[in-house]
Amino acid sequence: MSKTLLRNDWVVMALFTAAVLSMPLWLAPIGAGYPDLLQKFAIFGLFAIGYNILFGLTGYLSFGHAVFLGVGSYTAVWSFKLLTMNVLPAVLFSVLMGGLFAVIIGYLSLRRSGIYFSILTLAFAQMSYNMAYSVLTPITNGETGLQLAKSDPRVIDALFIEAGEGLPSTDLFGMQMSGYPGFYFCAVLLIIGFFISLRIFRSPFGLKLLAIKSNQTRMLYTGFNTRPYLLTAFVISGMYAGLAGALMAVTDPLAGAERMQWTASGEVVLMTILGGVGTLIGPLLGVGVIKYFENIFSALNVDTLHQIFSFLPDWLENVVVWISSHFVGEGWHLTLGLLFMVIVIFLPGGLMEGFQRIGSALRNLFKRSEAVAAQPSEKE
């Protein structure tokens, strides 16, 4: 595909939309084509895309973005509990709450840069997590996580519908938000989120953020007040995280404190770097790899391995299964750790760099053969 074509926003969006909506088809052969994992791809995709707007464009490494994810989830579940099971208000409130928290934390944290900024965000995240886990239990329901209950008021729903037997489920005007409809709801928001991110990346605003990343001091002397730019980027990414948190609650109405732990923030950092910081698609690739490992690799056990390698002769099968069993199931962390190291050692730009290298190698190959073919009439 030619590069100029990809510079057109609408071509990119058309390709992206097609790829996302057809995920259930092309992910099925590798065992990832089921609603929950698809939902996770879309939700964490949004989280990572948003994070990339901060980290990829400004270079500010936040270790606290899981807070906004958690806040989004709590807000959404409270919206389900107090107002209505309809997901739209939940999504709206969560995005706003994510943004509000981002304004507060961002305003304070952005007074510093570099590693100090990272530690500040980390400290805020850990404080939020610890409080949500214990002291704030009346709001967060602590370790168990905030859940729906039959006795919840749901004032708006109560006006229109009689409560059924059992817990109600989240819906979009009657369409239930679990399973595939839930995935498509997330997918549509992912596409919108990606579109916004694409526009930001290709806007003067995005360019200014990149310039801040490249040389912040110079930006000041060039006539820009960098702090509002950084805060805007921080808040936008916080709102993405809030949205992702809301969607987690939409597809599964439960909000737990562990979503806010620093390791959860670390996960999105790793996803972004693994895929390729500052690239549009990279973070999504990172999400795909990490979530795939977490859900599929962790579920392989010796028996499934035997099935996979049953085509080998018995003795070889046993050897292969014995070796590979250390890297799957309970060993999936090990594989992930090794993958991080290998990627960063050999492909500093993340998976995207790998694809670019393959792409340019292919292009060179292609060009060479083309050049050979076109030799006689060469004149340009």
Partner: protein
């Protein structure tokens, strides 16, 4: 005497025990090129840093078009119309050459903050054109999409200069604009600066290269050990024995 653009009054600055600037008084006339010369460590760069808000003086004021600049943020000073071109190139190494020039052009247009996240880059055709023109003038047009970080040092200096020029400041502070350039490039830069002079932009130049100073400057101030020891036209300075003693070691100019 013409209109005074910049007026530095009684500026003092000490670092620890070192008296970097002592009671500096300096007026810059509109439309002129004013050179500040002096031996290494004379306080030239400190003076520039005070002017653009990078350093706060212990005492004194810097008035730009009648407004005191002390305590203002660097970006406010920039928007007031006073722009500095750095000695060691302070460019955006990760951006393309064209983007490097577009950023200051955008600053000129958008002000200190403008949330234009949903405007496409293509809608800034005027900015792009303006930037390309400047690059063309400085002879950098051929490589506008290359990364600025990979440019040669001389090219970086020219880029730095175009980043200052694109903002059309009323006062441009140039910190050794030709240091490290070849003779050829230096001459080109001199021509360019002369050309721009005709547009009525005031400039302060700090320079080592006497060739540059004397071919450009309308007025010269000589700084030594944090004090202005002489001021005047190039001819006056050329003939000033104190200058020759303090700065030129008695050598003939």
């Amino acid at each position: 005497m013409g209109n005074i653009v910049l007026s530095i009054k009684n500026v003092d600055k000490t670092f620890g025990g070192l008296h970097a600037l002592g009671d500096i008084n300096l007026d810059i006339e509109e439309g002129k090129i004013h050179a500040i010369i002096g031996p290494n460590g004379a306080g030239k760069s400190t003076l520039l840093n005070v002017c653009i808000g990078r350093l706060a003086p212990d005492r004194g004021t810097v008035e730009f078009e009648g407004k005191n600049m002390i305590g203002m943020e660097p970006y406010e000073i920039n928007h007031a119309g006073m722009v500095r071109v750095f000695q060691t190139p302070e460019i955006f190494p990760d951006l393309s050459i064209l983007q490097n020039v577009m950023i200051p052009a955008l600053a000129k247009r958008d002000g200190v903050f403008n949330f234009d996240a949903f405007k496409s880059m293509a809608s800034n055709a005027d900015i792009e054109e303006q930037s390309t023109r400047i690059l063309e003038e400085l002879g950098l047009k051929s490589q506008t999409h290359d990364h600025a970080g990979s440019m040669s040092r001389g090219d970086k200096r020219r880029l730095e200069l175009s980043m200052g020029l694109v903002q059309h400041p009323r006062l441009l502070l140039l910190d050794e604009p030709t240091a490290g350039m070849s003779r050829h490039d230096t001459n080109r830069t001199i021509d360019l600066l002369k050309q721009i002079k005709e547009r009525g932009m005031t400039k302060i130049i700090i320079e080592h290269d006497m060739h540059v100073v004397f071919s450009l400057a309308d007025r010269i101030s000589v700084l030594a050990q944090g004090r202005i020891i002489a001021q005047g036209t190039p001819d006056e300075i050329r003939g000033n024995p104190r200058v020759q003693e303090a700065y030129l070691g008695g050598a003939e100019l």
